[in-house]
Amino acid sequence: MTQRSLAIGNLWAAATVAALLIAGPVSSQQAKPSAKSFTPPRTPDGQPDMQGIWSNAILTPLERPADLKDKAFFTKEEASAYVKRTIEQNNKDKRDGSGTDADVARAYNDFWWDRGTGIAKTLRTSLIVDPLDGRIPALTPLAQNRAEQVKEARRLHPADGPEDRPVGERCILLNSAGPPMMPSAYNNNYQVVQTAQTFVILNEMVHDARVIPLDGRPHVPQNIRLWMGDSRGHWDGNTLVVDTTNFTNQTPFRGSGPNLHLTERFTRMDAETLLYEFTVDDPESFARPWTAAIPSVRTTGPILEYACNEGNYGMTGLLSAARAEEKKSSK
């Protein structure tokens, strides 16, 4: 098979996923997804079986665009137009603005990216389902101050060494793996493996595996802080509920702090959909808790390794660039 025919085959698959994502009637009942009509298969241990590979590649934005105001759902026509428009906006193959940083940031052409090609079949205009305006609640003064300090530190020391760079660039943790998991530009896949005592999420972005105990053990002591927080899971009917605490101050999520209490909920909606909901509860950082929902869609594997540290030439490249710029400005 040629490269082209393989690529076209893949586009067919992508188009099928897109049709799946945006298909279906719009009704107010769909505002709150219900899995009541679906009986999930069971693991040999009797748990709802969520094993398999799931994709979070979706074009629905986390926050409702401000100009949509109180419009929580697209019509079908609006959804199709929105998808077209978003794909066009994301298109790295356009060549306007040549010779600008914006064009440099587009990097390589579109074939390398994998953002998905559809929005949720609920036709929601945001992943955020609570509050009703679909927007992240206001940051507290403490959280604003914290964000300012990070910004100022980066301004004063943009690239003295790798520690000045974001954790993603350092291949420590990328934002789409979370927790909470978020749609991203590529590597949107995660694999679930279940045992009687654990629920494991292997996220393709940096190949992180979260091993979540289900045996009721308490969280680790407060003085122990973990890059991905400390997760504990329990079953609530057919839903897996995961509580995560003990974050560091290195992985803020949209302004959250180390005392974030994150609650994730996984529910099988049908054979092809695993609903992933998360609630951000961090009164130190946000005016109120907020919740988002992503319909993860079953996808074919395998999960590919993303050994980010092995070939991270970009880090030496940008540190070297910073030294060159310092030299230039000191002349």
Binding site: M1, Q3, R4, L6, A7, N10, L11, A14, A18, P61, P65, D67, K71, E77, E78, S80, A81, Y82, K84, R85, T86, Q89, N90, N91, D93, S98, G99, T100, D101, D103, V104, A105, R106, A107, Y108, N109, D110, F111, W112, W113, D114, R165, G168, E169, A185, Y186, N187, L304, Y306, C308, E310, G311, Y313, G314, G317, L318, S320, A321, A322, E325
Partner: protein, 135 residues
């Protein structure tokens, strides 16, 4: 492009305009917008590695002197899913690269566009179902 698209511009325009361009790292920190380069050469080596691929090419100048350049691409994972491997770029393949040179002046560039000798663009058009790839 249909009527619906135009109608929705007002609804969705803002979002797309402010959506951040996200990549593994800040390309503008590494490459120089003031140094656009057009390179023509032959593939010497392909590294389909993470987080980003690198294509090494030998570029011959008018005096016949050969210089090795490194061209940065994206993560190979999406390409593998589309059935593309590094065999798509065998050693000796003639390609042209449009990109921006590294800020430190070394022979590295990002690969905005990579084009085969017959004019076909490499890996173009993957995420838009309305477009056909590989042409």
């Amino acid at each position: 492009m249909g009527k619906g698209f135009v109608t929705l511009l007002g609804l969705a325009g803002l979002l797309a305009a402010v959506a951040p361009a996200w990549a593994h790292h800040a390309f503008a920190a590494e490459f120089d917008a003031q140094k656009p380069v057009k390179l023509k050469g032959t593939v010497a080596k392909v590294e389909f590695i993470n987080p980003h691929s690198w294509i090494h090419i030998d570029v011959k100048d008018t005096d016949g002197k050969v210089t090795r350049w490194m061209v940065e691409g994206g993560s190979p994972n999406a390409l593998f899913r589309r059935g593309v491997t590094k065999d798509a770029l065998p050693q000796g393949t003639e390609i042209s690269v449009d990109g921006y040179q590294a800020k430190d002046g070394s022979n590295r560039a990002n690969g905005r566009d990579i084009t085969f000798a017959d004019g076909r663009k490499l890996f173009v058009g993957g995420s838009n179902p309305d477009e056909q790839p590989g042409k």
